[in-house]
């Protein structure tokens, strides 16, 4: 749309005015010239005017009291939520009991055989090794609990996501309605909506499963819709000409053609569900996440790591296996149902043999204690790096400098800016990079924060996000460029990024405090660690995809490798770099809440506080503010047409 209007205008105004960015800014300036004086005379001052806030704490407090008082008696709970909760509990329990009944030998064998059939021998061995490692770390039972929770949550997410995606893929109107909903669901930090779920279902597995579904269903819906819409027109026409009904076309042509996207959707759903499994430990989901969380309480990094590693292993195995399933291997022999049957028979045999031999519960003696050496390493690190390192200073000094030289000025600056100028800056940025619609969304989101009455803490959080994103981008671009230029470096980097991306964030909360002290600096550090892998990956991929012909041309003109990078690769990879910025922002924001656990304060602390005190008002308002902040940042950094999505 933007290009069409640009062409239409091209004939009229002369000079620099033809540039769309300048026109947008001029329009905005005119708007501002009219609106700002009005706003200032009405509501002066730097922070959001109190006349424009709405206090929602009372109705929210009443709502939460109503739920607690009526939860045991109101029909809505007795006949609806209660049953939902029971179904979830029964399903998780059934899977858990099945896993326990099969025993560790059986589960390992089945996992390996499925991996073998889907993805080959190498992954089968990897899968078996991963399961055995979970047992060796003494985490067999929690791993099975997490697995049971995952199975149910992923199935539910896939069903919900596929249904939504089907609706959006088949009907344009549904697509228009659903798109903003899915957008919002994806920028929502998971922590923010744990509280309402907990209020309705109480802590525990049902709440965890439902929160996971909200979090993990959108990628499935999006990719399903994408797959259905992307189906080859010619094939569809051919099928139509055979006189098929709409339903036959859907089942025989469109769904099979979308297979690749569907499987990618399942893959994404699994990854997101797994990351949620850990966050959900805060509301008593049990399993591995709970072990990480408990270890955190006794400041035991080693034990947290012992529970975190199985999560990483599960994530890597599930990711590789579902990715392999998505790849086309139709022509290959050995994928007939019969070999599946054999594989299942073998698995059943192993399971029964395991049962007979008494290999059900993981034997007590077969455990490796990694906690102690890890804790020693952490102790050494903190003892030697925290302070008093000659010349460069200790990490605590860095953190203090970072806080007083970067975080404080940025925060004070943002809070000093008059509220209307913040809205203007947001509008300008969002409009320059997107359309007037994205600009409007961003401004409204920012205004909503003010209306909710959390303007100042939100700007505090924003300052932390900006600082963390800046650090992430500097490190991420540098590493990404290095990875794009050296195969070997990238190969070395890959497992490290895998670990960073899948390791539950709780695990590194204690090390960051031990290194940087309590405050906003460790929160920023944790966010950087979490967001870095995505930025590195997208940057490296973008640089690699630059047209080789363009590079060749530059080289033949005698450009040095630095020139090639600056003048050819980086400009051509602009889209990817923008996407990296966008992903960096979204991921950093997701950790900001967790930063509340290490002294990050602001919105993150309020959400944690709301969750801990069962205080719906403060928790939900802060959660909503984070969502608005997320929407605003997403729009401000979002390239007009985005290709990949969160976690891609």
């Amino acid at each position: 749309m933007a290009t069409i209007t640009a062409q239409a205008q091209r004939a009229a105004p002369p000079g620099f005015l033809t540039h769309p960015a300048v026109r947008k800014l001029l329009t905005l300036a005119v708007l501002a010239a009219i609106l700002v004086p009005l706003a200032v005379t009405q509501w002066g001052g730097a922070t959001w005017p109190s006349a424009l806030t709405v206090d929602v704490s009372e109705p929210l407090g009443k709502a939460s009291d109503w739920i607690i008082d009526n939860r045991d008696s109101h029909p809505l709970f007795l006949y609806f939520f209660g049953h939902v909760s029971n179904v979830v509990v029964l399903a998780v329990r059934a899977v858990y009991l099945a896993l326990l009944a099969v025993g560790w030998a059986g589960v390992t064998a089945i996992g390996a055989l499925v991996a073998w059939r889907v993805a080959g021998v190498k992954l089968a061995l990897g899968t078996a090794a991963a399961f055995l490692a979970c047992g060796l770390l003494g985490m067999w039972v929690p791993t099975m609990q997490t697995l049971a929770l995952m199975v149910v949550a992923v199935l539910a997410s896939v069903v919900v996501g596929a249904l939504l995606g089907l609706a959006a893929g088949l009907s344009d109107r549904m697509d228009r309605v659903l798109r903003p909903v899915l957008d919002t669901m994806q920028v929502l930090p998971a922590f923010a909506y744990l509280l309402p779920v907990v209020l309705v279902f109480g802590i525990g597995v049902p709440a965890a499963v439902l929160a996971t579904v909200v979090y993990a269903a959108p990628p499935m819906a999006r990719l399903t819709s994408l797959g259905l819409r992307g189906a080859d027109r010619e094939v569809l026409e051919a099928v139509e000409s055979l006189g098929t009904t709409a339903r036959q076309r859907l089942l025989t042509a469109r769904v099979p053609l979308a297979r690749k996207e569907l499987l990618l959707g399942v893959n994404q759903t699994i990854m997101m569900a797994l990351s949620m499994a850990v966050i959900a430990s805060v509301i008593g989901a049990g399993g591995l996440g709970d072990r990480v969380y408990q270890a955190l309480a006794s400041v035991d990094v080693g034990a947290a790591l012992a529970a975190g590693i199985p999560i990483v292993l599960l994530a890597v195995v599930l990711d590789r296996v579902t990715c392999a399933a998505g790849e086309e291997r139709l022509g290959e022999p050995g994928r007939s149902p019969l070999t599946w049957l054999y594989a299942l028979a073998v698995a059943a045999a192993v399971a029964i043999a395991g049962r007979v031999a008494g290999f059900l519960e993981w034997p007590d003696g077969w455990e490796v204690n990694i906690a102690e050496p890890v804790n020693r390493a952490v102790d050494w690190m903190t003892a030697h790096l925290y302070s008093g390192v000659p010349v460069v200073g200790g990490t605590a000094d860095w953190a203090a400098h970072f806080t007083s030289w970067v975080l404080n000025p940025v925060r004070d600056g943002l809070q000093w800016l008059p509220w209307w100028s913040v809205l203007l800056v947001v509008a300008a940025l969002a409009w320059l990079i997107g359309t007037w619609r994205t600009a409007l969304t961003a401004v409204l989101a920012m205004a909503a924060i003010g209306v909710l009455g959390v303007w100042n803490p939100s700007l505090d959080t924003l300052s932390q996000v900006l600082a963390a994103v800046a650090v992430t981008l500097v490190l991420g671009f540098a590493t990404g460029i290095a990875a794009a230029r050296s195969e070997r470096f990238e190969r070395l980097l890959r497992p490290v990024l895998d670990v960073f991306q899948t390791m539950p964030q709780f695990v590194y909360l204690i090390p960051v405090v031990a290194l940087f002290g309590v405050g906003r600096a460790p929160a920023v550090a944790a966010a950087v660690v979490y967001a870095l892998p995505a930025v590195v990956r997208i940057t490296a991929q973008g640089l690699r995809q630059v047209d080789p012909a363009a590079l060749e041309a530059a080289r033949s003109l005698g450009a040095t490798s630095g020139q090639q990078l600056r003048q050819v690769q980086l400009p051509l990879a602009r889209r990817s770099l923008l996407l990296a910025v966008n992903q960096g922002v979204v991921l950093v924001l997701a950790v900001v809440i967790i930063g509340g656990l290490v002294g990050g304060g602001a919105l993150g602390y309020q959400v944690v506080f709301g969750l801990a005190q069962g205080d719906l008002a403060s928790g939900l308002v802060a959660g909503a503010a984070i969502v608005c902040l997320g929407l605003m940042l997403d729009r401000v950094t979002q390239p007009t047409e985005r290709r990949a999505r969160k976690g891609a």
Binding site: I68, R71, D72, L78, G82, H83, S85, L90, V92, R93, L100, A148, V198, G202, I203, G204, V205, P206, I283, G284, G286, D290, Y293, Q294, L296, A297, S298, V299, D300, A303, N375, A383, S387, A396, A400, H401, S404, N408, L509, I510, V513, A514, G517, V518, G519, R520, A521, P522, G595, G596, L597, V598, G599, G601, Y605, V608, L611, A612, Q613, G614
Partner: protein, 318 residues
């Protein structure tokens, strides 16, 4: 036509299935991991501080080894734990620091939670400075002199004021109101979790740096980092009634146990054991220290304590 009838039949079936099982009871919501493989399970809630872990570790050890139960533990914050207790997702809270509002709602009004008696440990919240600092500046231990030391206690995080470090958002605290009402030149910095707070205190102590922190007894960390309490205006009954106007110290709280009402009635030997469970501050600290400082697994720590204190726990079993 056929499609429509199938849909109608299906939805009718779904409805009867739902209403057929009647009302779902939200007060009986056991964890799906409970009672697996025919074992009798007790689910205990663990709060995030180590003392609570010590209680649970010992109770778990006895339940498993003396009574043959299987024990599940879930880490939940205090207020949500009350909620979970009323729903039956957990069977017991072993250490409660006083939640009058929840008590009124669940114990007195709804009767879904039953009191489980004293834990035997007395808790007290206060402001603490490290003893090495208090020895150098003895007058810091009175709140009236705190403003003199604000400069010494300044950090990057607290800006121009002194830093009063608070812990987890789940803890009972009036510190913001106290700082304001006592006119103190301090900024309350929330560490956000006890783990973060302990880590920071240890780092300060390693460098012998001064600090002022919200802290509480009993706590194992005192054995590693000796701390001295700062005197606040004395506590009087009701002086903390209005959270905005608090200007007095925290009360002394005998810690309580609470059981799910159903479990208290029908929980058999497990419920009896948990009701009788009562030990001293020293006992608890001993176990806590093994868990937190020597990094023993809670189970091993509990075993070590149980082996040495037979006379104490034998009484709980009788």
């Amino acid at each position: 036509m056929r499609v429509r009838t199938t849909a109608a039949v299906a939805s009718a079936a779904a409805l009867t299935l739902l209403t057929g099982c009647g009302a779902a009871d939200m007060t009986k919501q056991a964890s799906p991991f409970a009672n697996a493989q025919g074992a009798k399970t007790v689910t205990l809630s663990v709060q995030s501080w180590v003392g609570a872990q010590a209680n649970v570790a010992v109770a778990q050890y006895l339940l498993e080894h003396e009574l043959g139960y299987r024990v599940d533990t879930v880490q939940v914050d205090e207020v949500p734990a009350w909620d979970a207790l009323s729903q039956g997702r957990v069977d017991a809270i072993l250490e409660d620091w006083g939640h009058p509002e929840q008590e009124q709602r669940y114990v007195k009004d709804k009767k879904t939670i039953a009191p489980g008696g004293d834990l035997g440990v007395t808790g007290h919240i206060g402001w603490f400075v490290p003893t090495y600092f208090a020895k150098k500046h003895p007058d810091v231990t009175n709140w009236k002199n705190l403003n003199k030391y604000a400069d010494l206690l300044r950090t990057a995080e607290s800006g121009g004021k002194g830093q009063l470090m608070d812990g987890s958002p789940s803890y009972v605290t009036n510190d913001k109101a106290l700082v304001k009402n006592l006119d103190l030149d301090y900024e309350v910095v929330f560490a956000g979790s006890e783990a973060a707070q302990i880590t920071q205190i240890k780092q300060f102590a390693k460098e012998k740096k001064p600090f002022l922190s919200y802290w509480y007894t009993p706590q194992w960390l005192f054995e590693k980092v000796p701390m001295t309490e700062v005197k606040l205006p004395p506590y009087k009954e009701g002086c903390d009634a209005d959270p905005e106007k608090v200007d007095c110290a925290y009360p002394v709280t005998p810690l309580q146990k609470y059981l799910n009402a159903d479990f208290a009635k029908k929980g058999g030997k497990a419920a009896d054991l948990l009701k009788r469970f009562k030990w001293t501050t020293e006992d608890q600290n001993q176990v806590s220290l093994m868990i937190a400082e020597q990094k023993m697994r809670p189970e091993e720590a509990a075993k070590k304590w149980v082996d040495g204190h037979e006379s104490v726990w034998k009484e709980w079993l009788s």
